[in-house]
Amino acid sequence: MQKGFFANIWKHRAHVVMALPAFLVLFFIMYVPMVGLVLAFKKYDYAAGLFASPWVGLENFKFLIASKGEFYTMTKNTLMYYFIFTAVGTVLNVAIAIAIDQLAFKRMAKTMQTLMIIPVFISYAAVQFIVFAFLDRNTGMINNVFGTNYRFYAKAGIGYWPLILTVVKVWKDTGYGSVLYMSVLSGIDTSLYEAADIDGANKFQQIRHITIPSLIPMVTVMLLLSVGNVMHSDTGLFYQVTRNIGQLYDKTEVIDSYVLNSILNSGNFGYTAAASLFQSVVGLLLMLFANWMVRKIEPENALF
């Protein structure tokens, strides 16, 4: 058996060689850094480095939980935005996909779709300037068009940010998000619609009884897979678009942006690592759960 194994590897040595470069990149970029999570149980000492830093047991976690304020806020925001974005996003992705699919003006539909997808290719570093052009107090289009004087980028405007971020997210991702559903729709057997037509079903009945049911499996899969990313947010949205303004943190800070801030401002790496570990472990559990669910419902769409 053992000999057979090595004989097999030798026979496939070319495949081993071909797999090696990507293997090494994954090892050094993804695997080795996992070691860094031990920092969650240490007090980081810049001079001593990762291993020589003293152990502090669960101190970092105790601190995180005790310092209710920030940890609680960023976890709450992470979850809140996940739910808003997922709910609004899914509904709009499906709605746009159905709308474009139903449209009889095919060529126009194609052009409109092309235009809708463009925002997904604009980095958040650039998006923040676009958002600024709408929201700035003096030069912003919203204040100028409506003759108002909102201060969106200050404490006074904090209440608007959940809405602003949702609109930006919808603007950026909906066109692209609907592509996946459109490909499902284009796979529906047209004879189903013809048969429904003959039976006297109107458009709405057709959508209700043919189109939507055929999208349900994909929607289920996408929703479940997104569960694995609950703890991760679009860092650029929360860091760049909000201009990382501290006064807005109550409504805009998520775990990812907290970690980024901590690195850039040399915050307390021990607490940050504890937050990261919390994020990674919860993410892992949710991912396993999600995949298990997908496997039960739609086995061929499970990731593993």
Partner: protein, 311 residues
């Protein structure tokens, strides 16, 4: 309005016989959403060419009337050196990263889909795990900078985005579903070695999938600001996105340090056209993707579909 309706009616008679008011309402709604998506992009282009004083006085607008100006764009182009450097850095990491990534990921995907290869199972799990569990940004930062000593290195702009689980899955699925195994077998029987089979048979057939994954990778590289902000400090390694993030600093720095002709300064009224030149920089950063993207659209629609179904 009248004209629109007429045009719509013309389209109706040409394309389809049974188009009721429902279709017109639908068209209107989709059009509305398209405007919502595209108008902000248009605003960037308009503002980049709007007179600075007009923006200061009236705010950003879609309709600057006659107040067009090249000052914003000119002042950005006068960044000269730094802009060229940043462009070169971004293009460099995008091209190298995408090319290397596609090559090593497709070799990996090919290897793990070889029947009878006993390491295939292990390697499949190995590529999957990082998606489930990873160290996060902070661990990466500490390991890359203190262990690997890679602070301020372009490698940190390339390697982290080079191999991703999802892309390997997409490529493997494509190899498994769309390239007949017999083809590879036949090549082997005809005496082609393993490498030759991959490079001459598999790789060419993988093209549609490579185009889709490659375009998504290129976009990710082009738009990556996070790694740049975390790791890059020296000016000659700054990619465009970092230039954009530091824009206020950049504009002042560049205008003060480069030899801006007195005539240009006078034309700007002695002030830095910050709003229009910010937008002009955004235009310079996003335009290349927007030009390239329509050519790749059909591929990534296809690639996305393939990727969503696991083999």
């Amino acid at each position: 309005m009248q004209a629109t309706t007429k045009k719509a009616q013309k389209l109706i008679t040409r394309e389809h016989k049974r188009i009721g008011p429902g279709q017109i309402i639908l068209l209107f709604l989709v059009l509305l959403f398209t405007v919502f998506c595209f108008a902000p992009v248009l605003l960037v282009f308009i503002s980049a060419f709007t007179d600075e004083m007009y923006i200061v006085q009236h705010g950003f607008t879609f309709f600057p009337g006659t107040h067009w100006s090249m000052n914003g764009m000119n002042s950005v182009l006068r960044y000269g050196g730094q802009l060229a450097t940043s462009y070169a850095v971004t293009i460099g990491i995008t091209v190298i990263g995408t090319f290397v990534g596609l090559l090593i990921m497709s070799m990996y995907a090919y290897s793990i889909s070889r029947p009878g290869f006993r390491l295939a199972g292990f390697l499949s799990v190995f590529v999957l795990i990082p998606m489930l569990f990873n160290g996060g940004q902070l661990s990466g930062y500490i390991i890359f900078t203190s262990w690997y000593g890679l602070k301020d290195s372009l490698l940190l702009l390339i390697l982290p985005l080079c191999v991703t689980t999802m892309n390997v899955i997409i490529l493997r699925t494509y190899i498994a579903n769309s390239i007949p195994g017999e083809l590879m077998e036949a090549a082997t029987i005809d005496g082609a070695g393993d490498y030759r089979t991959f490079f001459q048979i598999t790789l060419p057939l993988l093209k549609p999938s490579l185009a889709a994954v490659g375009f998504m990778m290129a976009t990710a590289y082009w738009n990556d600001w996070q790694n740049a902000q975390l790791y890059i400090t020296s000016n000659n390694k700054k990619p465009l996105q970092l230039l954009l993030i530091n824009i206020q600093k950049s504009i002042e720095f560049l205008l003060n340090n480069n030899n801006v002709p007195a005539s240009v300064r006078a034309a700007m009224g002695g002030t830095i056209p910050q709003y229009s030149s910010t937008m002009a920089t955004v235009v310079i950063v996003i335009a290349p993707i927007m030009v390239v993207y329509p050519f790749f659209q059909k591929y990534f629609v296809k690639g996305l579909t393939v990727g969503s179904v696991k083999g």
